[in-house]
Symmetry: C2
């Protein structure tokens, strides 16, 4: 057991790395950190990851953080069961989708979460939530149109494993706040894509425990 993986349930970044670890059939030791009780900001964890975020990976004694960086490292060090295409342009497109998911889709999801599911004292301003839901629906159209046949590229890649956890957050918002939803959100091609990822043999082990059932 030489890989240690620090995970947090509900973090799309940690989920991405977990899916990649599973896809590559690596063996690892997982530590689940609480995202809510301040555990990430305790000195013990900050000595491993100075930002107090998940995921963190420890490979032998090499400590690494930032999800996309961890995934590039895993692909380079453990090239079997490759998850980044080989051809230069295809590699670029796969990385571009990951960046687009994190730079454009995630910030909207994050703002909606902060206005709804993350609040203990009721949802925030309804007009703001509606506007963000419209932004979310528009951004999801981009990804709906990007799906090729089964995946974002011809074969499964980092694009799929990074974007699936973001879509799972959207689905969760939809389930928990159905009345706030504007537009179709997860449309047919993305819905079929999600089913496809959920049918992967290694998917079930990575499902956040408190999302089950």
């Amino acid at each position: 057991m030489k890989i240690k993986f620090y995970y947090g349930s509900g973090s799309p970044f940690a989920w991405y790395v977990w899916l990649v670890l599973e896809h590559k059939q690596l063996s690892y030791d997982i530590t689940t950190m609480s995202l809510r009780n301040g555990e990430l900001k305790q000195p013990e964890y900050l000595s491993i990851n100075p930002h107090g975020k998940v995921p963190t990976l420890v490979d032998d004694d090499f400590v690494l953080w930032e999800a996309s960086t961890i995934v590039e490292f895993l692909e380079e060090k453990y090239p079997d069961y490759s998850i980044i295409p080989r051809e230069t342009k295809q590699r670029a497109i796969a990385r571009r989708y990951v960046a687009e998911g994190y730079n454009y889709l995630y910030p909207i999801i994050r703002r909606i979460m902060d206005l709804t599911l993350m609040r203990a004292d009721g949802d925030g301003d309804q007009a703001t939530i509606k506007m963000e839901m419209e932004n979310l629906d528009r951004e999801l159209d981009y990804f709906e149109n990007a799906i090729q046949n089964d995946y974002f590229l011809d074969e499964i890649s980092i694009a799929d494993l990074a974007i699936y956890p973001l879509l799972a957050l959207v689905k969760r918002i939809h389930e928990k706040r159905p009345l706030l939803v504007v537009g179709g959100l997860i449309k047919p091609k993305l819905a079929a894509f999600m089913n496809r990822i959920e049918a992967l043999p290694y998917f079930a082990v990575t499902t956040p425990p408190h999302w089950k059932g």
Copy 2:
């Protein structure tokens, strides 16, 4: 002339790609887009980059966006004058710094810009600005401590060329709003690092025109 580069003056992401193009001694045709008059959201540009952002790179007929993705593509397609270290762990650390700059430092800079230099009707709430300035100063300490000798790693890398433009934005905020500054911001090691980047033979050509003089 086979590379077309769409740039915007003041965008740290576009500046990063420009520094990499220059470092790699590539020839390119540059198009400067206005970031303020809506030019990025015109149909003509949106047909090239659906997000209406800079930078965009066109290599032969391959169109690519998202700064970090463009840089990985350039390094793979044009390996001369390499800007990503060769050794796996060093590569990971270089990429990690880029991600940290964009994920932790840039959002604070962006919020301060939006509260100050980007406003036509005077600065925003002073207490919020003060809080963000404190966040900025703390985040900069991380990078101050990360500098090795001359650069973030032993040799010049993507870490340096990505983070320099962020520091230049900090310096600009400092110059334009000296009274709002909290803490030292650009401390000695980062100041020396900035001088070192500014002394690179290819630096001057990339300086935003309206920042000169």
